[in-house]
């Protein structure tokens, strides 16, 4: 069984939004619905101000708050680590949206709070997620953490990586390269 994770290097991100648009095209989303977005973070004080652009999407947490609060079990986690939502069971209470610390969910036209699926159906056919394959700077790398041949193995185990909101203990499956901009 694969152990899917993603590595994101915000230091390389230009903020072109191609990842967001590729995702919208892949899943046929309306312009107002997107499963990933960019946030800008400023650090330092004038004149030494640094700006980081951080790609944000569902973190596919191992201890996912959205899964814990979903009353009908519509949100579930697969053995390969991907968190998905079964629209058939979703009552549309939006508790998962309230519980998610990453603002990863957005309500779709069917009233289902959808989110990044790590392109599960495409990954099953050996493809990479749209946001990964479209990125000109290779900001994202997706793959099986247990595969020693995967570049992820080296990147996550040997590079200085961080996760978002580690204090919440959600155990995200997306690892970010540390900022090189101070």
């Amino acid at each position: 069984m694969a152990n899917y994770v993603m590595f994101i290097d915000p230091n390389k991100c230009t903020g072109c939004n191609a990842c967001r648009i590729a995702c919208q095209m892949q899943w046929g989303l309306t312009p107002s619905v997107n499963y990933n977005h960019l946030i800008e973070q400023e650090t330092g004080k004038y004149p030494k101000v640094q700006r980081m652009i951080i790609p944000i999407q569902c973190q596919h947490c191992d201890d996912a708050p959205c899964q814990k609060v979903c009353p009908t079990g519509a949100t579930y986690k697969r053995e390969d680590g991907i968190v998905l939502i079964d629209a058939k069971k979703c009552i549309g209470c939006k508790y998962c949206m309230v519980a998610c610390p990453y603002n990863a969910r957005v309500i779709n036209e069917e009233g289902v709070p959808e989110k990044c699926r790590f392109c599960a159906e495409y990954v099953a056919q050996g493809e990479t997620p749209a946001c990964v394959s479209t990125c000109m700077n290779e900001v994202r790398i997706f793959g099986d953490l247990d595969d020693p041949a995967s570049p992820l193995h080296e990147l996550i185990n040997n590079q200085d990586v961080v996760q978002l909101r580690p204090d919440l203990n959600t155990k995200p499956r997306i690892y970010y390269a540390k900022s090189k901009r101070g």
Binding site: I39, G73, N103, V112
Partner: protein
């Protein structure tokens, strides 16, 4: 059962008009605007309808709690209230479910609460407890109407435990969200219990005023009516004072919280976008004015007690609106908890459809209660 002809009054027409307004809001959601009928967004997923649900559900539970002084604790003075308290609880809880059902995007899929329940979800337990509570309410009301008080009392004991569990769990729905610092923890379960007592006493004061204002109740002396009114007023005053202390402690602790998002949410409540709603409606209308009316009249004026009840319920509605929005008003600190919070708020304003559904539910309660007063032997 009474066979009185239903006499339409000004209240009937007013309630019918309110109900029509609610129906218009529901039509807008289901046939015209869909999810866009409501002002919620990915940043503020829960809006006025969740507040409305909490308002009605807590009022239903509180009315049951205060009403149980007669059936469960056998305080004879409160027994004349039992039937009306039960009926009010049923109508308030049905309204809560109705508002929630319209808020939910796919209410018919609630069958999966039974088919694939997630036992760690507080919302699942909310459905379980309030579902059982509604069944027990119907049972208790039926046997009370049949004057089978032995069975009714038996149900009432069980119902008392269920309603306490329901109200504490309702607070847990909010307290369970670690990403929303303002809600997280044990405060909201306690808030729900205290505010249930406030709502319950206020609802029963309003009902008591209408059902006894002409002192027509057979076998029920004017002194008994006044004495019960005085006791309900005292319960409301004490509950309001405790509620005020609770809220002051909550705001004080939140303002000094180490977590920046929690402190900013409290600031938004007392000096930010929620300040008018908090100070004018929740504090002045909902706490100060009712207390002034009750204490000023030394609990002896039924008219002032009635208005204290009305003002308290108006304040309670805004209390629900305030805390639901306050929990979501600060943008999430997605990257890390120490990142500086920009001085911007997540915007939310209830739409006319959201208001109409809450107001419509009130109309429905008044209409059905008025009809039941005429048709059922509630005295």
């Amino acid at each position: 059962m009474k066979t009185n002809k239903y006499q339409k009054s000004l209240w009937t027409y007013l309630a019918f008009f309110l109900l029509l307004f609610g129906v218009a809001g529901a039509i807008n959601k289901y046939f015209i605007s869909g999810e866009h009928a409501f002002g919620v967004s990915p940043e503020v997923p829960w809006g006025a309808l969740i507040s409305g649900y909490v308002f009605f559900a807590v009022a239903a539970t509180g009315t049951g709690l205060v009403g149980s002084l007669g059936h469960v604790f056998h305080l004879k003075k409160f027994e004349p209230l039992s039937k009306r308290a039960l009926l009010a609880s049923i109508l308030l809880l049905l309204s809560a479910f109705l508002v929630l059902a319209i808020e939910l995007a796919n209410p018919f899929k609630m069958i999966y609460l039974l088919l694939s329940p997630n036992l760690s979800s507080p919302i699942l337990w909310m459905g379980v407890f309030y579902g059982i509570y509604l069944i027990l309410l119907f049972g208790e009301f039926y046997f009370t109407m049949k004057d089978n008080h032995k069975v009714a009392s038996g149900i009432a004991y069980f119902s008392f435990v269920v309603k306490l569990a329901a109200i504490i769990n309702l607070g847990r729905v909010f307290g369970y969200t670690a990403s929303r610092g303002f809600w997280e923890g044990y405060y909201y379960p306690a808030y729900m219990v205290v505010s249930a007592l406030v709502s319950g006493a206020a609802v029963l004061l309003i009902i008591h005023y209408f059902s006894t204002k002409d002192f027509k109740v057979p076998g029920y002396a004017k002194t008994q009516v006044e004495s019960l009114g005085k006791n309900l007023s005292q319960i409301l005053a004490v509950a309001l004072l405790i509620f005020a202390v609770f809220q002051a402690i909550k705001v004080g602790i939140s303002l000094n919280a180490g977590d920046m998002a929690t402190a900013e949410a409290a600031k938004a409540l007392i000096s930010g976008p929620l300040a008018i709603s908090f100070w004018a409606m929740e504090v002045l209308v909902g706490i100060v004015a009712p207390l002034a009316l009750l204490l000023g009249s030394k609990f002896t004026s039924m008219g002032k007690a009635f208005w204290a009840g009305i003002l308290t319920m108006a304040g309670m509605l805004f209390s629900r609106l305030d805390f639901v929005y306050a929990g979501q008003i600060i943008p999430l600190q997605i990257v890390d908890a120490t990142q500086q919070i920009a001085q911007v708020y997540n915007a939310y304003s209830p739409t006319w459809s959201e208001w109409s559904l809450i107001i419509g539910a009130l109309g429905l309660i008044i209409l059905v209660f008025d009809y039941a007063e005429c048709k059922l032997a509630l005295d």
